[in-house]
């Protein structure tokens, strides 16, 4: 039961956090040039964004769930199940971030999800 709960925290925490950070990064705007100084300034701007501050605790919870799951179970159990985050993430991108997830992208996401599960299980 605790494993199921931790897997839920792992999947929802990581996708929720990434969606929040993605939204924050887009609101900040892309760096003008790919120079170290510009990148550091860009990361500073993203980190002061409210969406980033919402995403970090979600990702931290997911990270600790992952560490605990790694200590309890082999990678070949944890990673295939966590591959579901690709589908959850695509749903979040479509409905929360309003991205255009067309048939090709859905097919790609599902193939990647199945592929990750097979790689880890193999």
């Amino acid at each position: 039961m605790l494993t199921v709960l931790l897997l839920f925290v792992l999947i929802c925490g990581s996708t929720g956090g990434e969606i929040a950070i993605s939204h924050g990064a887009k609101k900040t705007g892309e760096p003008k040039r790919m120079r170290p100084r510009e990148l550091v300034m860009f990361i500073g701007r993203v980190m002061s964004n409210g969406w980033f501050l919402l995403g970090i605790p979600l990702m931290a919870a997911s990270f600790f769930a992952l560490l605990i799951l790694f200590s309890w179970h082999p990678l070949s159990f944890v990673i295939p199940i966590s591959a579901l985050s690709y589908v959850v993430g695509a749903l979040g991108a479509k409905y929360l971030l309003k991205e255009e997830v067309n048939a090709a992208r859905w097919a790609g996401v599902i193939l990647v999800c199945a592929g990750v599960a097979l790689v880890a299980a193999g």
């Binding site: 605790l2 990434e18 969606i19 950070i21 993605s22 990064a25 887009k26 609101k27 900040t28 705007g29 892309e30 760096p31 003008k32 790919m34 990148l39 860009f42 990361i43 701007r45 993203v46 992952l66 560490l67 605990i68 790694f70 200590s71 309890w72 990678l75 690709y86 993430g89 695509a90 979040g92 991108a93 479509k94 971030l97 309003k98 991205e99 255009e100 997830v101 067309n102 090709a104 992208r105 097919a107 790609g108 996401v109 599902i110 193939l111 990647v112 999800c113 199945a114 592929g115 990750v116 599960a117 097979l118 790689v119 880890a120 299980a121 193999g122």
Partner: protein, 148 residues
């Protein structure tokens, strides 16, 4: 057209940096946590795990690589779709398998090769779509308009 090509190349480079950092970081974390053994879900057990996490050089190095992954991910997500970047990042699993065969001379099961094949097809399919499908908000919106 040239702008879209530039956007694709830029996205590819940053996604590649993201993949390398994620693969290295995950391997180091797994190694660091294996040194500790199974974490017991009790007060003292969690305390012991926390002490180990804070004092393990392997875990810190893993965290450093994961911070690099996060910086690359934030950067690429400032212009590219989340639903584009996320599956493209899964190429790391394929990379890990290729490295295991080429560098470590490991024997890889058929199931795993099928998984790598599916990931590669999935990444190619996602790669065919536009890296960005939403409007361009943000402070440099006027500059980014051309890349939408």
């Amino acid at each position: 057209m040239a702008t879209e090509k530039r956007l694709r190349i830029k996205t590819l480079i940053v996604v590649l940096a993201m993949v390398v950092c994620a693969v290295t970081g995950d391997l180091l974390l797994k190694r660091g946590m294996s040194e500790l053994g199974a974490v017991h879900f009790t007060g003292p057990g969690l305390g012991q795990a926390l002490v180990h996490m804070v004092t393990s050089a392997t875990i810190w190095l893993g965290i450093l690589f994961l911070l690099g992954f996060m910086a690359a991910q934030m950067t690429v997500m400032s212009w590219a779709d989340y639903s584009y970047v996320m599956p493209a990042g899964a190429f790391g699993y394929a990379l890990q398998t290729f490295l295991a065969v080429v560098v470590l001379h490991e024997v890889v099961s058929t199931k795993r090769w099928i998984g790598v094949f599916l990931i590669c097809i999935g990444v190619v399919l996602v790669g065919q779509t536009k890296p960005r499908t939403t409007e361009c908000p943000g402070r440099v919106a006027e500059k980014a308009v051309a890349s939408c």
